[in-house]
Symmetry: none
Subunit: 191 residues, 4 copies
DNA sequence: CATGAATGAGTATTCATTCAT
DNA sequence: TATGAATGAATACTCATTCAT
């Protein structure tokens, strides 16, 4: 059995990552000491370094293991030709970025200063963008509107999708993906 | 003369803020030590604390003094009735948020962890949103499209405007405000 | 073995307390830097904070662990009825306050500025006073002299006992507890 | 006129000493920064060093100028032969040590660590002792009790007199000089 | 595997003191 | 005589990391 220790039957490594996720999201990577992570995880200080030789490895593991895009088949969104708004909405709901709100905060905050995080965020964004574009292409078979416009639409939608939570946390103003999906669909003349 | 000292004829306080802006943007607030700021500013360590009793005061001063919305008259954007795309584009160009790229990075990065920064970002975002909405109202006198849609359009445009630089830095994908302006105008039926 | 390290086979925590006791007594708490304590204790600076998270905790530990009144049975002083002078002298010799001269200096010097030290000193003084009073009561069974006078006598004796060393250090004038015991005995008519 | 400045018509030097007296008594010499003294005195930081080239000079001036023994004639206490208790009580009331409670705290606290303060305290104590002895000699003309006992009595009384305030502040137990005077008189057989 | 004592470089901050004005 | 910017050494405290057990 993995869980040979206390604390919810969750093994030490997982508890360390849980604690780090919480703290990194709350106060940032730099402001979260390994000692505090260990304390929150209910593990001795030394054990953190047993699993993660360097502090940065905790962040890397977090990003590696806790943010990813599900491997859906290309057409999984069931794009409905003629219904770009619905298609985008469905994409938003089946949202391919699996990451807790905490992980998103970490992703955005540390992206600028830690290249590995930045790269991951770039890849996630590209993937969401690619899917949005593909979904729009399928939903608008007649290719009404040129390709450039479609790309702008996909980029805008991807930005809103990925950033929405951050946006509302930081600015206090919520943006509803469905409403944006509708807006974009109108722009592309899909209604 | 104010600037009786070395270094570009700029006084010490300003040099400290300059250095802090650079470093905070590059590596984040926590990772920028006051000693490094002082070194980059060519001032002795102690002087930083003469002007800013606490390190956080440097960040606060930066946000207070180096990010603001110009007090333009409400109609300064010269909204052209019937031309929402052009109106938004002009708004983007006369962009009311005066903040260096560095200050924007600082704003987003520290917003989540330092309330004063978060508040400022929230206020800036509201202001940009308000202006975008107002511009759209003027550009679409017939009020085609309901108010809700107009708000979504304004919020989306504000998000793109404020985040654009961050977005491209973080995701590696540039979003052109003009293209988004055009997209939004189409959605509102303004073309 | 506890003491697996260098320096007299005494463990690091004890060496830190020893060093602090010496320095606090010599130059006062404020004037004794943690760095100097560490140096004198032959431990790295960081270790001081491993055992004592704050500098003040060193002082508190010192007072907690190195000043106390032995738990003697109430009648341990073997008061001799009719011999108050001898009784007080014996009390002075079996003095119940176990504290090095250094600890006493620390106690008096920091009492005014650190409440925890002040409280401890207050408690120690009360205890010595209580014992002196009890000893006098036992030595003067006929209760010659009223209770008020007896209390003054006990308080005076306690003050001399507790302060004696400090008094002679500070004023250069020694006060002999035995002589004071004799004086007090005469005042109470015990001879 | 001395008082050319604000603040109660008291000149800057006096205000600095007042502030220092307050702060040194409250928190000790080391813990009172010159900047804080200046602030409390409502003078600019630089002015402190104008009057007192070094910080220690403030303490020295305080002790020099604010603790002294009045130059009373030797027999000023009007010793009443046959009434040692009354004589000591009168001595206590005409107490020759002129020093505010604050100055006494400073005197005792810094005596151990600053030789000049220590010396002053030693001299003050000697003087009080000398006067107490002289008063007792005059009050007990028959020289009842030997000289040694008389000295112990004088020393005890001097200690109580000088320390009384400190004692009660530190230990929470008040000692009444009059009661001690009575006690000592009884010991010397003066009643 | 697990643990916590040990290490020392680094951090924010304080402070007495100087000095040009 | 008055002033506050300037200086840099010193201070309490933090922290990632190592390692003997």
């Amino acid at each position: 059995m993995r869980a040979s220790k206390k604390d919810d039957g969750v093994d030490a490594r997982t508890r360390i990552l849980d604690a780090a996720e919480t703290l990194f999201a709350e106060r940032g990577y730099d402001a979260s000491s390994t000692a505090r992570i260990a304390r929150l995880a209910h593990v001795p200080k030394g054990l953190v370094f047993h699993y993660f030789p360097q502090k940065i490895d905790v962040l890397v593991a977090l990003v590696d293991e806790r943010t990813f895009i599900e491997e859906l088949p290309e057409d999984a969104v069931e794009a409905l030709p003629g219904d770009p708004a619905g298609t985008l909405s469905r994409l938003a709901r089946r949202f391919p970025l699996r990451a807790s709100p905490a992980m998103r905060r970490i992703l955005f905050r540390e992206a600028a200063t830690h290249t590995s995080v930045g790269e991951r965020l770039g890849r996630l964004n590209s993937e969401v963008f690619r899917r949005a574009r593909r979904a729009l292409e399928l939903a608008l078979p007649g290719a009404r509107g040129d390709q450039a416009r479609l790309e702008v639409a996909a980029a805008t939608f991807a930005a809103v999708l990925i950033y929405q939570e951050n946006l509302s946390q930081l600015t206090g103003q919520a943006v509803d993906p469905d409403a944006v999906a509708d807006l974009i669909a109108r722009a592309l003349g899909g209604t």
